[in-house]
């Protein structure tokens, strides 16, 4: 019993720590060119997890619009945005974080959706249901997923 209580307190403490370090979408500090210097979680992302977010239709689905030779095992790459190969050489980590979180801060009018944004939409919906968005509309990707994608993109360097 005592151990369980201690465990619960430890769990609560760790949850509080994570929340304190995580930047909510409305508080993201975009620089002059749309870059974001600080990690949204306060920690580096996991590039392996990021590769999954980039590839998975139900997560980031980045390949819907972006092709990448590095993702040749993933079927059906789109032709809408620039190829992802070399992104880690073309952009800094802060720039990639800004582009993933809200590319419109860097490229006005870009077609690219903002993956870490929760307000300012026209007729926001509840994911893909067609219903109105809930009051507490979550961003498309979590802070952790954004950081994971950034970490993965940083691995896509030119030879």
């Amino acid at each position: 019993m005592k151990q369980a209580v201690v465990g619960a307190i430890a769990l609560m403490a760790s949850t509080v720590t994570v929340q304190a370090a995580e930047t909510v979408p409305g508080d993201v500090d975009y620089g002059e060119y749309g870059e974001v210097q600080q990690s949204l979680t306060g920690a580096p992302g996991d590039s392996e997890a990021g590769r999954e977010v980039v590839s998975n239709r139900a997560l980031g689905n980045c390949v819907a619009c972006h092709a990448a030779e590095a993702l040749v095992d993933v079927p059906w790459h789109g032709e809408i945005g620039p190829v992802l190969d070399g992104a880690g050489s073309r952009w800094s980590e802060a720039e990639l974080r800004g582009i993933v979180a809200n590319a419109k801060m860097m490229f006005e009018g870009t077609m690219m959706p903002a993956f870490y944004k929760t307000e300012g939409f026209t007729r926001a919906g509840d994911a893909y249901t067609g219903d109105p968005a809930p009051e507490d509309l979550p961003p498309i990707l979590t802070a952790q997923q954004v950081e994971d994608v950034v970490a993965y993109l940083m691995t896509l360097t030119d030879e």
Partner: protein, 288 residues
């Protein structure tokens, strides 16, 4: 923004499709559509005047589909949409409502009486003082002439009937008017076309004006023309109205959609229809 496939990926896919004969999402974009070896469809046309600054050429969605899907529309015996046209023909001949009338009692054979109708809808109705889609006109007939219940706007009875009424207009150019009292609806529809909706913040124009011909994952983006509606979709094996398709597209922007039959979609249909003025009426067309 051209229609030709661009980039190495598109080329690689095209080569793969040719080599393997898979014919997945890659279409023969130069192909011509002749239905039943008789009806010559205009699948490419000079853009209408109101689009002159935006597009040179308008393309039927048929152009963007795979060889196999294209072939299904070339013969009515292969076109699964005609199963539903036959169902609608039975409804056409059946009396319904308190007046005891069928469509046929006033309009006889739809293959004669309905020639040219699909091509000009949505259309302003002076008497009613409203812009009417074909669905609205059918329901006006049902309640006014037949004293029957309205059909659900995008229910199967309705979409099948719009397909039947479209058949005798196949091959005629879409010629939807947007002047006079229709103009304010047209402007509203245009506004909607360029409004970026939902959490993905995508407008019709992002995909269908700026990126037609490109792949978005496994989808080959078309110009979003509605000259082929209602369409038989392989995806759901039934006829689909333009409004149902609009709803699906807007839903996929992670948006709160509008309803089929809503004033917004009526206006959007008018505007999108006029973007296709000059293409042939194809309905019931076949798409993926």
């Amino acid at each position: 923004m051209g229609i030709s496939l661009r980039g190495t990926l598109g080329l690689a896919s095209a080569v793969a499709a040719l080599t393997l004969g898979t014919g997945t999402a890659i279409a023969d974009e130069e192909a011509e559509l002749v239905v039943n070896e008789e009806i010559e469809m205009v699948v490419r046309a000079e853009a209408p005047d109101h689009l002159a600054d935006t597009l040179d050429t308008i393309y039927s969605g048929w152009v963007f589909r795979s060889d196999e899907t294209q072939a299904l529309q070339a013969d009515d015996f292969d076109n699964p949409g005609f199963v539903f046209v036959d169902v609608a023909m039975d409804a056409w001949n059946a009396a319904d409502g308190a007046a005891g009338k069928s469509c046929a009692d006033c309009h006889n054979d739809p293959m004669d009486s309905m020639v040219g109708v699909r091509a000009v809808y949505p259309k302003w109705n002076d008497e009613a003082g409203e812009l009417r889609t074909l669905e609205m006109q059918i329901n006006a007939c049902r309640t006014g002439q037949m004293e029957a219940e309205e059909w659900k706007y995008d229910g199967s009875d309705m979409v099948n009937m719009t397909a039947l009424i479209s058949v005798p207009s196949r091959g005629l150019p879409v010629n939807v008017a947007y002047d006079g009292p229709a103009q304010e609806y047209w402007e509203m529809g245009k506004e909607l076309y360029y409004t970026r909706t939902g959490q993905l913040e995508l407008a019709c124009a992002n995909c269908h004006e700026d990126h037609y011909g490109d792949m978005i994952r496994a989808d080959h983006l078309s110009q979003g023309q509605i000259n082929g509606f209602p369409v038989y979709r392989l995806k759901n094996a039934k006829l689909n109205s333009a409004h149902a398709r609009f709803k699906g597209c807007i839903r996929d922007t992670r948006a709160h959609t509008y309803k089929p039959g809503s004033a917004e979609f009526v206006a959007l249909e008018l505007y999108v229809a006029t973007r296709g003025n000059g293409l042939s009426v194809e309905a019931p067309s076949v798409r993926n």
